[in-house]
């Protein structure tokens, strides 16, 4: 496929940059030489900016990544299911080093941030397609398919099977909404009626921050502007979260209806669904639903015959950047740029996409808003707690018998969830993912609600065989990998935290490292630019607060130990000579 075909799919303006690059990447598995220059010219952006965008997103690259690019999901839940062993095994079978393309240019194997398959891991992405339930047998088959040059599209269908794993459903997951129903209700209620029902319902944003949805919509509607936008944040990047994947699979009509209702209420004509790159496989089914809705007169011009009610939805794909889940970074990414969080104020409700008033809501929020429109605010408010109306979807994974999706009214205790999912001997629960909070067993009577444990839905369970240091180490690596690099404290601080945790993990930690962690945590909390930086210290903070022995037992009782590892420095020499026997190592007192 040539560049003109790709360019023809998107409007020729700078905002299309990321989508164009994604399309090129999908064909070639990298941006071939000369292509960046042509894209720069076609979209009228400086070449350096094109390179800047390629360099920002994990899934894009200017260097070849092999005909097969295999990326192992590296959330802590994947690790607990043995992904490290499996990756090693695959590298061995393909004669590869992790992170390097094979010499014949055929294949590369590397790790990537959580792909949202924690309830059916370990998982990987094969040229962007999600593969679940990896085991040694499946790894053998994959190695064979790669060696035989079988295209990923022809790999066995069961590799790509993604289950919904709904274990407990409530008003949202049980909803048997017919396309157009909520829209009819919205047209009956009118703009103000929809917003007042939302206010009455007490619905708050499901992305974690919990901003009242009705107030957000009203602020956007009242902002002075000739254009407005509706954006659905389906960049579900928080490790351990996968409930949006299930909503997008089963309730996309309800979601699109919620977005359309929002378009009606705030006066927007264009909506965007920002779909995380890891859910690329959902693109075609979602486009199909959009096409059906257009055909049924539920999207497009004069919706349901109402003059002036024009609204349509376009899907934008992400390309591997967790920070784009932050709403202003997501808007930057929608505009085709590097996903750097903006300075706020002004907020997106007044200055969002293209500096126009924009509502950004989570997938679950739009679905809930459609329900509220359909059945009324009072009905919705009847569920949940005083400050947290309605229900919440939890993505349960880790050490339990029944991982999957659970829908509870707000206010459910951690203990109840643990009981329902068949968790035994639980040591800790990570509520809300790495940016959330890690609680110990004495806190299991705490409630999941904005009043107590606010959460976007991740619920990762660790039993008493787990080492909480490993958990914090994995999360610290994650934040260092996902920091956008805009501000000093997060760019440098997350990287320093990562190297300190590695030093401790390798047995060279001392009290000095403990002090450094505490110092860095404080700097991040006080001065980071956005939520990612503020929460990047949570894993180490929580660990030191609740599981301090897990950290301290790894420390040497010295005041200081240099991080320089004499034996480690010989690793390149060992690699070059192909040796790894005892005599190729310096004497190590600890072994």
């Amino acid at each position: 496929m040539d560049l003109e075909t790709v360019l023809g799919r998107h409007p020729r303006r700078p905002e299309s940059l990321l989508q164009v690059l994604r399309d090129i990447h999908e064909v070639h598995n990298h941006i071939p030489p000369g292509m960046a220059e042509q894209v720069a010219e076609a979209l009228n952006v400086p070449l350096a900016r094109v390179r800047g965008v390629i360099g920002f997103y994990s899934f894009l690259s200017e260097t070849p990544q092999g005909e097969y690019r295999l990326l192992f999901s590296d959330n802590i839940t994947d690790r607990m299911l043995g992904n490290q062993d499996l990756m090693q095994a695959l590298c061995g079978k393909l004669w590869l080093e992790q992170g390097k393309v094979s010499e014949d240019g055929l294949v590369s194997v590397d790790a990537t941030s959580c792909t949202g398959m924690c309830d059916q891991g370990p998982a990987l992405l094969a040229n962007g397609r999600a593969i679940t339930r990896l085991n040694h047998q499946r790894i053998n088959e994959i190695a064979e398919l790669v060696r035989n040059h079988v295209p990923v599209a022809e790999w066995p269908a069961e590799f790509f099977q993604v289950d919904d794993n709904i274990r407990l459903s409530g008003i949202l997951l049980d909803c048997t909404h017919m396309a157009g129903q909520a829209l009819e209700a919205a047209l009956d209620r009118g703009k103000d009626g929809v917003i007042s029902e939302l206010n009455q319902s007490g619905l708050r944003g499901r992305g974690g921050a919990g901003f009242p949805t009705g107030r957000k919509w009203a602020a956007c509607k009242d902002a002075q502007s000739d254009e407005r936008y509706v954006v659905c944040n389906a960049d579900e990047g928080e490790p351990g979260t996968f409930k949006d994947r299930v909503l997008l699979t089963r309730h996309a009509d309800l979601l699109f209806e919620g977005m359309t209702v929002c378009g009606l209420a705030v006066g927007a004509k264009q909506g965007f669904l920002y779909l995380r790159g890891e859910y690329r496989y959902l693109l075609e089914p979602l486009e199909e639903i959009l096409a059906k809705r257009r055909a049924a007169g539920l999207l497009g011009n004069c919706i349901r015959g109402h003059d002036g009610f024009d609204f349509d939805i376009a899907i934008h794909l992400g390309a591997g950047a967790y920070v784009c889940g932050e709403e202003s970074a997501l808007i930057e990414s929608l505009e085709g740029k590097r996903g750097i969080p903006r300075n706020r104020p002004p907020f997106p409700v007044t200055h969002g996409y293209l500096q126009k008033p924009t509502v950004v809501n989570n997938v679950e929020t739009f679905c809930a808003a459609a329900l509220v429109t359909l059945r009324g605010g009072d009905w919705y408010k009847g569920l949940g707690t005083a400050q947290s109306a309605g229900t919440k979807l939890l993505s349960v994974s880790g050490d339990c018998a029944r991982p999957g999706i659970y829908e509870y009214p707000f206010g459910v205790t951690v203990r109840q969830v643990l009981e329902d999912c068949g968790a035994a001997g639980t040591l800790a629960v990570q509520v809300g993912g790495p940016s959330g909070i890690c609680i110990g067993s004495h806190e299991f009577d705490r409630k999941l609600a904005f009043e107590d444990l606010a959460t976007a839905g991740a619920f990762m369970i660790f039993d008493d065989t787990r080492d909480m240091f490993e958990v914090a180490h994995n999360f610290t690596d994650f934040f260092a990998h996902e920091s956008c690099g805009f501000c000093t404290p997060c760019r440098v601080g997350t990287s320093m935290l990562k190297s300190i945790m590695t030093k401790v993990a390798e047995g060279h930690g001392t009290r000095h490292e403990l002090n450094e962690v505490e110092c860095l945590d404080k700097v991040l909390q006080q001065s980071a630019h956005c939520g990612l930086g503020h929460t990047a210290c949570n894993p180490t903070l929580d660990m030191l607060k609740r599981f301090r022995p897990a950290f301290e037992r790894r420390l040497k009782s010295l005041d200081f130990e240099p991080a320089f590892d004499l034996d480690g420095a010989l690793a390149p020499a060992r690699a070059m000579t192909g040796r790894d026997d005892a005599r190729a190592h310096l004497h190590n007192e600890t072994s």
Partner: protein
């Protein structure tokens, strides 16, 4: 100018639209800062200008001035934070002050002295960053780049050339040059460009100039940076504006 806010116990007047840092500098009151430049819109990436506003920390360069704000800046707690941030920047790049042409004129060095940065603080990362000397009149030493984006902004917003941009992310974030080869010599960068004169450290320097002004007679030699607030007070751009139409400069 009727409204004021309180900075460390004394009132500071401000004009509508000014940020806390801009108002403070206009009034001759110093708040440590690094990525801010008096001729550009602040963007708030270095975070050295962090202050406490009503008990919560915020970057003063982007925080809108409002009547009645109570701001703490010169406290040991906040200066300790700034010291750490400066140490982080030193640890992130390769900064060898004794042999650097910018020594004495360098904002990073001056801040280090002024804040009392006496130790490395962190293990230095010693990144591998090659020098670009391909341009006939100017050269880039990426080792010294602190990613303030002033050259990016100046080149796009003033020079209309967009010679620079940023790539990578997190700790791998780096400055890139707008040419197919990625080399400065293949761009239309010129010594007259605004972008050639805004680097706060010694990353972008003219060639064939070495210690023309002797050490001891440079900007921060006679008085510390904290005594030079007015030099950084906001002022209109000194160069004609011909912004690039296709992009909006830095992040």
């Amino acid at each position: 100018m009727s409204d004021t806010f309180d900075l460390d116990g004394t009132p500071v007047p401000f004009e509508p639209g000014q940020t806390v840092l801009q108002a403070a500098l206009t009034a001759g009151r110093y708040i440590p800062h690094l990525c801010y430049h008096p001729e550009f819109k602040p963007h708030g990436s270095c975070k050295v200008c962090t202050v406490k506003v009503g008990g919560r920390t915020a970057a003063s360069c982007t925080y809108p001035a409002q009547a009645g704000l109570v701001i703490e800046s010169e406290t040991e707690e906040i200066n300790a934070l700034r010291r750490t941030l400066v140490q982080m920047l030193f640890a992130e790049g390769n900064h060898f002050c004794p042999s650097c042409e910018k020594s004495g004129n360098c904002l990073l060095q001056a801040l280090g002295y002024d804040l009392g940065v006496t130790t490395a603080g962190f293990r230095h990362m010693f990144p591998d960053r090659p020098v670009d000397a391909s341009h006939p009149d100017l050269w880039i030493d990426f080792n010294r780049c602190i990613l303030c984006e002033l050259c990016v902004r100046a080149s796009c917003e003033v020079d209309g050339k967009c010679v620079f941009a940023l790539s990578g992310r997190g700790i791998t974030k780096h400055l890139v040059v707008n040419s197919e080869s990625g080399r400065l010599g293949d761009t239309d960068f010129s010594p007259d460009d605004k972008a050639a004169h805004v680097c706060p450290v010694g990353a972008i320097l003219p060639k064939r100039v070495g210690f023309a002004v002797p050490i001891g007679a440079r900007r921060f030699d006679p008085s510390p940076i904290s005594a030079q607030a007015l030099v950084d007070a906001p002022r209109p751009l000194t160069t004609s504006v011909k912004p690039c139409t296709s992009c909006e400069g830095g992040e």
